[in-house]
């Protein structure tokens, strides 16, 4: 399955965060990694798309005080999601072989 670049970023951020993967944390990871703002609109519509493709599973977590008593949308990458992200990464590495910016 071919992923979009933003989908790959989200899967990778969610996998890195593990049990702590939820909307705001994934967004922070992506902003830190890309140094670009990530809108909530892009985040949540992509989460839905990834879930429809079976690449992640989401559920509502417990409410916490720092969130004004509101729950988190927790995220877990599925085995299919791991395969898709891995394939995407391999493709990027293969296609990048020999180009100037991939030498480091």
């Amino acid at each position: 399955m071919i992923l979009g670049e933003f989908e790959y970023l989200m899967l990778t951020a969610a996998a890195r965060l593990g049990d702590e993967a939820y909307g705001a944390a994934i967004r922070q990871e992506i902003e830190d990694a890309t140094s670009s703002p990530c809108s909530i609109g892009a985040l949540y519509t992509t989460l839905d798309r990834l879930e429809r493709k079976g690449l992640i599973k989401t559920w509502m977590g417990e409410p916490t005080p720092e969130r004004g008593g509101r729950p988190k949308r927790m995220v877990r990458v599925t085995a299919k999601g791991v395969d898709a992200a891995s394939s995407f990464y391999s493709a990027v590495r293969r296609v990048s072989r020999g180009v100037a910016w991939a030498k480091s």
Partner: protein, 294 residues
């Protein structure tokens, strides 16, 4: 002042977030609270998500069907009907001011008093009923795009008769008053069209009515429509040249006789389709349940 601004921004973000699904709304508000977003950034973020969600809804054919089948035809008809009802009600009420109550002992005068009153009440109830049924079907077709289609529906209802006038306005000086000319028709549209339509949306989304109540309401509305068909047809021309209904004189060359034709009679059928749709879907949904139980 600053605090008021902050509250305004968050209040607006909260209002806009009502267009999101409840679980998503909570998660988004929580994310915004956690990252310490300012009020206007929060509003921008929520607006961005709502815009994406709404755009996704319109990729489906059903909201478009709601616009083509309900918003445009029924909205326009309700615009005409509410405008005609408002002006006719003002005209009738003003006639009562001149009514000599001592004449009520005569049967003919009683009819003159009570029949228009009965007609006004029946038509008002029909108007609210048609609007409720339209809101109900609009919600069932539009799903998550419902508030956009309701806004479009309201726009058509309020602007549908822009630049027109009714026949009774030429016969009463009362319409020179701003209240009767402008405010009252708007109040009628809010009270007898918009609010019942929103109630219809609410009834569908919260499944607040039983199948029996839905079926009975639909049947009652069908009967009311039959009773008020001439009013509805008359409202399409805003009463100009015809009363109570646009007629074509029949073979006897005499007006208001049994063989007169009513060229606008299909209007009632168009107005009936949301009601018929409610009735059919309610009965249809019942069938599989009955068979699965047996």
């Amino acid at each position: 002042m600053g605090k008021v601004m902050i509250q305004t921004g968050w209040w607006l973000a909260d209002v806009v977030s009502q267009l999101l699904e409840p679980h998503e709304r909570d998660a988004v508000r929580g994310d915004l609270a956690e990252c310490g977003a300012g009020e206007w950034r929060a509003l921008r973020e929520v607006l961005g998500l709502v815009a994406r969600r709404q755009a996704a809804c319109w990729m489906d054919w059903r909201p478009w069907l709601a616009v083509i089948a309900i918003v445009l035809p029924i909205g326009l008809m309700l615009s005409h009907a509410s405008r005609w009802w408002a002006d006719d009600a003002v005209y009738t009420t003003l006639q009562y001011r001149l009514f000599d109550l001592s004449r009520l002992v005569q049967l003919g005068w009683r009819s003159d008093l009570f029949l228009p009153m009965w007609a006004a009440v029946t038509c008002g109830v029909s108007l609210a009923g048609w609007s409720w049924a339209s809101g109900y079907v609009l919600a069932s077709l539009s799903q998550r795009a419902v508030w956009v289609t309701v806004a479009l529906f309201a726009l058509v209802v309020f602007l549908g008769t822009l630049g027109t006038t009714t026949i009774v306005r030429a016969h009463s000086a009362a319409f020179a008053e701003h209240f009767f000319a402008v405010v009252f028709p708007r109040l009628i549209r809010v009270g007898l069209v918009l609010l019942p339509a929103i109630w219809g949306v609410h009834s569908y989304r919260h499944a607040s009515l039983s199948r029996l109540t839905l079926s009975m309401s639909a049947v009652a509305l069908l009967l009311l429509t039959v009773l008020t068909a001439t009013f509805l047809e008359g409202s399409m021309t805003l009463g100009r040249g015809f009363f109570p209904s646009p007629l074509e004189i029949g073979a006897d060359r005499l007006g208001a006789t049994a063989d007169d034709l009513r060229p606008l009679w299909p209007i009632s059928l168009v107005m009936l389709w949301p009601t018929a749709s409610i009735l059919i879907t309610t009965l249809w949904r019942r069938a599989p349940l009955s068979s699965s139980r047996s």
